[in-house]
């Protein structure tokens, strides 16, 4: 019951707001907050309770295909529920302040509720089909929220871009689901697991079936590549920062983008059965994390820096799944959700205080003007950078680095390089924004945000620290070390943290502009340009091709042919439909005779 309530409360709120409360901004925001609050309370109740599954049949085509609608409550989904509803609740509260002036805030809150519904659907789904539907719904609500300020061309473009890029991933995801269904005959996770185990044990025709499974898993992986913004489909996430900042915090940092990781962890048993695919996943994740970190070092927009940092951390998680360390991935997802949400909300607070200025080189000196934001942002930054032995980020990152070390020294190297860069660019961001001298009038006259916005920041900075300690790690079964650790990975991680921070401090302390200019990073490895060219090329080719098809095939053959056919059909049928009852009666009689002939064959 409580489980259903978690899922349905946001839906009810979304429908209510959309249908009835559109005109009343205050009421709709309260309804939305109340709904997510209810979800959060229920999640806590469920978290305290045991594991269970509830399910009923959605489509029942007999034994060949039965698609249930079911909720899975196990350790994995419980954790995720807490993250989603917890961060979600705080972001909703924060939005009360942030969106106070927005005239269409009802639409915003309806979208937020819809998002909560669909995200919780992904978390609770017990089968691929249901997950795919909610997966798409999440995409839709994300589209709506990114494009919330659709009057702004860049926001409209960004939402379109996010939607289109995600379609590519989702298309692959769908193919993957179909392949798995074809191979194993079921789409329910709990039935898939024994089926895969049986498949792996089965010696007959193993190689071919396993390579089919590998391809299927890779197609499924396309879903997370899109949604969790991995290379090469990562381009939509930075642009998605055009949406309201709370949305960036909730959707594009803490929850939706993590859905890809969640999916992979959920179907980890499939990945284990396909080691090749696992390798590909590990490479994609680690390369994404390094490249994103490099790009982050050269961004000037506060939200974009955080966006690239999110990409980078997601790469860590995906990589961890690839190393076979699903628990570590979940652990990092968990801690990251809190400190990254805190960072985004802090950035939102800064932007709010700076009257919608987002360029860090026009900020500075905010440590005196916005004390709570300054402190909480600092704590969250340290968590992201991985301040050794104190912050949660250190522990979860450490778990991933350990897993990487077990897999291969290359992965460990990539991971450490990313960690170094993370420390570096976060120091840059923090120093330039808060510690340096004010660099604009807005920065000089910046003011602190209201309590409704700073309170969530403070609340979020607590888990950013404490969630790394023993008890939480134990929850993720991480208290047992993953084998030998001759390299002393925690020491290495601590070392790169110090190195990156010190480097960042010395490079950026008291600077008025960026002393480092690396075009390749600033231009984001020219991905967007590359895609533009590609799109243009394909468009050109397609346009020519379709012009040809249109002119000769469609116009010449199909349209003319079809219209001729339709009109001749119409002409013939006119003969029947003369409007004369007597003729109708005669045709009626002829029909009878025609059927009678069958009797006398």
């Amino acid at each position: 019951m409580a489980a259903w309530l978690i899922l349905l409360a946001p839906l009810v709120s979304a429908v209510l707001i959309w249908l009835l409360l559109k005109s009343s901004r205050a009421l709709s925001s309260y309804v939305s907050v109340a709904a997510v609050g209810l979800s959060f309370v229920c999640s806590c109740v469920v978290f305290a309770g045991g594991d269970f599954t509830v399910s009923f049949n959605w489509i029942d085509f007999g034994p060949r295909l039965t698609v249930p609608i079911g909720l899975t409550i196990d350790a994995l989904s419980k954790t995720m529920l807490l993250v989603v509803t917890g961060v979600g609740l705080l972001v909703h509260v924060y939005s009360l302040g942030y969106m106070h002036e927005d005239r269409s805030s009802s639409r915003y809150f309806a979208g937020l509720s819809l998002f909560m519904f669909s995200m919780l659907g992904i978390v609770l789904a017990n089968n691929f089909v249901m997950m795919f539907i909610f997966w798409e719904l999440v995409g839709v609500s994300s589209y709506l929220l990114i494009g919330h300020w659709y009057e702004k061309a860049s926001a409209a473009d960004a939402s379109k871009k996010a939607f289109l890029v995600n379609r590519i991933g989702d298309f692959g995801f769908m193919i993957g689901i179909l392949m798995i269904w074809a191979l194993l005959g079921t789409v329910t996770f709990s039935d898939l697991e024994p089926a895969v185990a049986k498949l792996v044990k089965d010696p007959v025709g193993n190689a071919a079936i396993l390579s089919f499974l590998t391809v299927a898993v890779l197609f499924v992986f396309m879903g997370p590549v899109g949604k969790s913004a991995q290379m090469p489909l990562h381009v939509w996430l930075p642009d998605a920062m055009e949406g309201p900042t709370p949305v960036s915090a909730l959707i594009h940092a803490a929850t939706m983008v993590a859905a890809g990781v969640y999916l992979l962890v959920r179907v980890n048993f499939l990945l284990v059965a396909a080691p090749m695919a696992q390798n590909v996943i590990a490479w994609v994740g680690m390369i994404t994390s390094l490249m994103a970190a490099l790009m982050a070092t050269q961004q000037n927009d506060i939200k974009r820096i955080l966006a690239y940092s999110t990409l980078s951390q997601l790469g860590y998680m995906i990589g961890a799944v690839g190393f076979g360390a699903a628990q570590a991935a979940m652990f990092h997802l968990f801690t990251h959700a809190f400190f990254k949400a805190s960072l985004f909300l802090g950035a939102g607070s800064v932007i709010h205080g700076m009257h919608h200025e987002q360029d860090i080189w026009r900020m500075g000196g905010l440590k005196n003007k916005m004390v709570p934001t300054f402190i909480t942002f600092g704590i969250a930054s340290l968590a992201l950078m991985g301040l050794p032995y104190v912050t949660s980020g250190f522990y979860s990152k450490d778990a991933i680095l350990l897993a990487a070390a077990n897999k291969s020294w290359i992965f460990l190297g990539l991971g450490l390089a990313t960690a170094l860069l993370t420390a570096f660019y976060m120091t840059r961001l923090f120093v330039v924004t808060f510690l340096n001298k004010p660099m604009s009038d807005a920065a000089k006259h910046a003011h602190e945000s209201p309590l409704v916005m700073t309170a969530p920041l403070m609340i979020l900075s607590v888990p950013a620290v404490i969630f790394g300690f023993g008890g939480v790690a134990k929850w993720f079964n991480l208290d047992v070390p993953h084998g030998p650790d001759p390299l002393h990975v925690p020491m290495l991680a601590a070392a790169v943290f110090v190195w990156g921070t010190v480097m960042g401090w010395f490079v950026y302390r008291n600077r008025q502009s960026d002393p480092i200019r690396i075009g390749l990073f600033a231009r984001k490895f020219y991905f967007d340009e590359l895609y533009d060219v590609l799109v243009k090329l394909t468009q050109e080719t397609l346009a020519r091709l379709s012009a040809f098809v249109d002119k000769y095939l469609i116009d010449g053959l199909l349209v003319k042919g079809a219209t001729t056919l339709a009109f001749s059909a119409g002409f013939v049928l006119r003969f029947f439909q003369s409007g004369n009852v007597q003729a109708y009666a005669i045709f009626f009689g002829l029909g009878v005779i025609l059927l009678m002939l069958l009797a006398f064959r």
Binding site: G570, L573, R574, Q577, S578, G579, N580, V581, Q582, A585, I586, G589
Partner: protein, 105 residues
Amino acid sequence: MSLNDYLLVSGLLFAIGFTGVLVRRNLIVIYMCLELMLNAANLALVSFSRFRVAPDGMPDYHGQILVFFIITVAAAEVAVGLAIIVALYRARQTTQVTEINRMQY
């Protein structure tokens, strides 16, 4: 006389009525011909009912009940049908089927 003789008369009656529906243009006459068709069925029913003797030696009256219902329905149908035809006549001053083809194709 055998059952088939009656069935033949009934069949012919049905065919004559059907012919009338197909070839006549006056709505009222067409309607009369439809009545003929219904009565053809009645005749067949009564002869079947006479032919199937119940265990007690009496005709199978279930068939006759059906005739009863058919006559009632036919009477109701005539009443409604003629009302419609009259309404049409009032509007268009015609009872010719060939002239009621404003809606076509």
